[in-house]
């Protein structure tokens, strides 16, 4: 599978909700709709309010993957995301209030206004993101190694874009995950672009999954706007990882509708074709699911209306919360960067009052290596 082939496909008509319980389908739908509306609202408010003073990477069109994960991870599982992290933050149970407040740079933000949109990291949620490409993919390896060492049944999931696979450290991570059979699921949202640069300009072959597979990794490639499919594929992968049967790499083909960064459009740069955008808008993950749900009487305009009212209420509350929250104030930078407490050392180590050193020793000449 690759973007070029998908483009020839027209409207995707493989999406099926058979075998998925209505409850789950409704949850998936609701998550996507909520994420979409929340992004749209932020976009609308970005410039007029002029209070969201940080770079924001919106994820309109890419709601399916976070939606699927939102139902599959427990609190003790870890989710590590790239810069385009709002969906994943919500998937891990992050509150919309704290998200908005973080973007507004307020003290009540998910990170107290310190991190901004692209670095949201909340220890209590075991959710982490960061702006440096591939960084959190590599860190996820360590989290999974920790779980394995402690023989926990937790799983680490790391979500990232195709851009992350340009970096060498990504391949180090793939290799090590296979070598140690780590409880780690890689979710690659391949939206074809790293900022404006298409995959074909950055990689010698458009076959990320094939390459990952050659490292001995289990891989799956899926149409990333089919949320029901993602749900089942993620579910299997997470289950396998949890059972100690090793890592999995899932490549989800999807598309970013909006600009790479910020609330505007960047299509005027001419880096992507109209046909491509049209294809993907026609295959909106929410609309595709809605069609199936309507067909099976799981959705009608009344239900949808009600959902929208609830969601919009949550969004309005979040804006209000953010705007009314105080800005952070700091006098003491040191403690934010260094922890001065040493509870473990206090408990485990002795304090001694002495130090002897024979100052007349000569340095050693080490051997050849």
């Amino acid at each position: 599978m690759n973007h070029g082939e998908l483009l020839k496909m027209g409207e995707y008509n493989h999406l099926s909700i058979e075998g998925c319980s209505p409850d789950i389908i409704r949850c998936l739908y609701r998550f996507m709709l909520r994420l979409r509306r929340c992004q749209e609202a932020l976009i609308k408010e970005y410039y007029p309010a002029d209070e969201m003073r940080c770079p924001v990477h919106f994820c309109i069109g890419q709601e399916a993957s976070p939606a699927a994960l939102s139902l599959l991870l427990s609190q003790s599982d870890y989710l590590l995301s790239h810069h385009r992290c709002h969906g994943y933050y919500l998937a891990k149970g992050g509150s919309m209030n704290a998200l908005f407040a973080e973007i507004y740079g307020r003290a009540t933000g998910a990170n107290g206004g310190i991190a901004g949109s692209q670095d949201i990291s909340v220890h209590d949620l075991n959710f982490f993101s960061g702006a440096i490409l591939s960084g959190s993919v590599a860190i996820a390896v360590g989290v999974a190694l920790g779980f394995q060492t402690k023989a926990l049944r937790s799983v680490a999931v790391t979500a990232f874009g195709d851009g992350a696979t340009d970096q060498g450290i990504f391949w180090e991570a793939i290799n090590y995950a296979v070598l140690r059979r780590l409880p780690l699921v890689f979710v690659c949202e391949n939206n074809r672009y790293s900022t404006y640069a298409p995959l074909s300009k950055r990689q010698g072959k458009e076959n990320i999954s094939e390459r990952v597979q050659s490292f001995g990794m289990n891989v799956k490639t899926v149409f990333g706007n089919d949320v029901a499919l993602l749900y089942s594929v993620f579910s299997n992968a997470i289950e396998e990882a949890r059972e100690g049967r090793g890592p999995c790499f899932i490549e989800a083909f999807t598309y970013r509708w909006n600009a790479h960064v910020g609330p505007g459009e960047d299509d005027y740069l001419g880096y992507r074709s109209v046909a491509e955008r049209e294809f993907w808008k026609k295959n909106c993950p929410i609309a595709l699911l809605e069609k199936q749900m309507v067909g099976q009487n799981l959705m009608d305009s009344k239900i949808k209306e009600k959902m929208i009212v609830e969601i919009d209420q949550e969004i309005a509350t979040a804006f209000q919360f953010a705007k009314e929250s105080p800005f952070p104030h700091l006098k003491e930078w040191s403690q934010l960067n260094y922890n001065i407490d040493t509870p473990q050392a206090d408990r485990l180590l002795e304090t001694i009052d002495s130090s002897f050193f024979d100052q007349n020793q000569k340095e050693a000449m080490p051997g050849p290596y």
Binding site: Y78, N111, G112, I114, A115, D119, S121, V122, H123, D124, F128, G130, I132, G135, A138, I139, A140, V141, G142, V143, L145, G146, Q148, T149, K150, A156, G168, I169, E172, A173, N175, Y176, L179, Q335, L336, N337, Y338, N339, T342, P343, Q344, A345, L348, L349, E350, T351, I352, S354, S355, F356, F357, D358, Q359, N360, Q361, E363, A364, M365, P366, G367
Partner: protein
């Protein structure tokens, strides 16, 4: 309390840390072979197994990220680099993730990752095996940096780092590995930010770092024969820095020499002099001086190593010039 080498003290600290807590892991290339990174990890795998004593692929970049992830999941990893030079592959992980996780999490998450990095010297280590780079790490917010000079200190600082809550880089100079001092058998701590006066004196303050400490002490002994009474302050850790100890000593002697085993410009030696200047202004009795390496990479030839590294004569000369200026 027994007389022990620096390398054995490291080995003991690791052993005891791993015994004290199952959260402690050691990761590094070849840590599970009998040779054990110059003997510092020898025997650990026999006791603690390969899940906790992990030979790592030659992928230093990933290794540091793995350490970060381990700490995020509650572990206390110790990463080992045979040379600081090899660690350069991992600077992104150090700069963009390790050093700033506590900050960006708004103080909620600290990462107790300990990085042991060894500096080569002698036997033609050359430009790719002898860098120290401790000034870089100390410039960066969010990291603790120790440069222990004695077996006693390395054990205590290593344990303090493993069971402390901050990411820490410990610079271990290979030439110190066979040097001995009294080392208590119990697991004890040496705190960060506490310099120690290794020799009391009144004529000049010699602030020494790491590998320069034994050389400062030998120089002081030698100069004592000429009637120069030097005070030698071993910083032990450079981040945090014991500013008080430095200023107290210079307040007494009025003269300052800083000995730093690193390139001269924009290093710890500059920081120490700047610090004293800011605090004490024109209270220097003479011009302060730095004893460092030239602003040059390290040559391999033993003949050039002799010219590159400060030696007993050149060290004594600089100290004399500051005392008698």
């Amino acid at each position: 309390m027994t007389q022990q080498t620096y390398s054995k003290a490291i080995n003991q600290a690791l052993y005891q840390a791993m015994e004290l807590s199952s959260n402690v892991l050691v990761l590094g290339q070849l840590v599970d072979y009998q040779s054990g990174v110059f003997g510092t990890t020898t025997g650990l795998v026999d006791k603690f197994g390969t899940q906790r004593v992990c030979d790592f692929p030659v992928a230093e970049s990933l290794m540091t990220s793995t350490g970060i992830g381990l700490a995020m999941s509650g572990m206390r990893p110790v990463l080992v680099h045979q040379r600081v030079d090899f660690m350069m592959y991992s600077l992104d992980a150090i700069v963009n993730w390790l050093s700033l996780m506590r900050f960006k999490s708004n103080g909620k998450l600290s990462l107790p990752v300990t990085i042991r990095a060894i500096v080569g010297k002698g036997w033609g280590q050359g430009p790719q095996h002898s860098k120290s780079m401790h000034a870089w790490f100390a410039h960066l917010p969010g990291l603790r940096v120790a440069v222990p000079a004695t077996a006693y200190d390395i054990k205590g600082l290593l344990l303090e780092s493993i069971f402390g809550e901050n990411p820490t880089i410990i610079i271990e100079h290979r030439s110190l590995f066979s040097m001995t001092s009294e080392v208590p058998d119990i697991p004890y701590r040496v705190r960060f930010g506490e310099a120690v006066v290794r020799r009391k004196g009144k004529d000049v303050t010699i602030v020494a770092i790491g590998f320069m400490v034994p050389q400062a002490l030998r120089a002081a002994e030698k100069l004592a024969l000429e009637g120069i009474d030097a005070e030698v302050l071993d910083l032990r850790t450079i981040s945090p820095l014991d500013e008080e100890a430095i200023c107290n000593s210079v307040a007494k002697t009025g003269k300052l020499v800083v000995m730093d085993p690193a390139w001269k410009s924009i290093g710890m030696a500059a920081e120490v002099i700047a610090l004293v200047s800011e605090k004490m202004g024109s209270n220097f009795k003479t011009k302060p001086a730095r004893i460092c390496y030239p602003n040059s990479h390290t040559p391999a030839s033993s003949a050039l190593e002799v010219e590159y590294y400060p030696n007993e004569t050149s060290i004594a000369n600089v100290i004399r010039s500051v005392v008698y200026a």
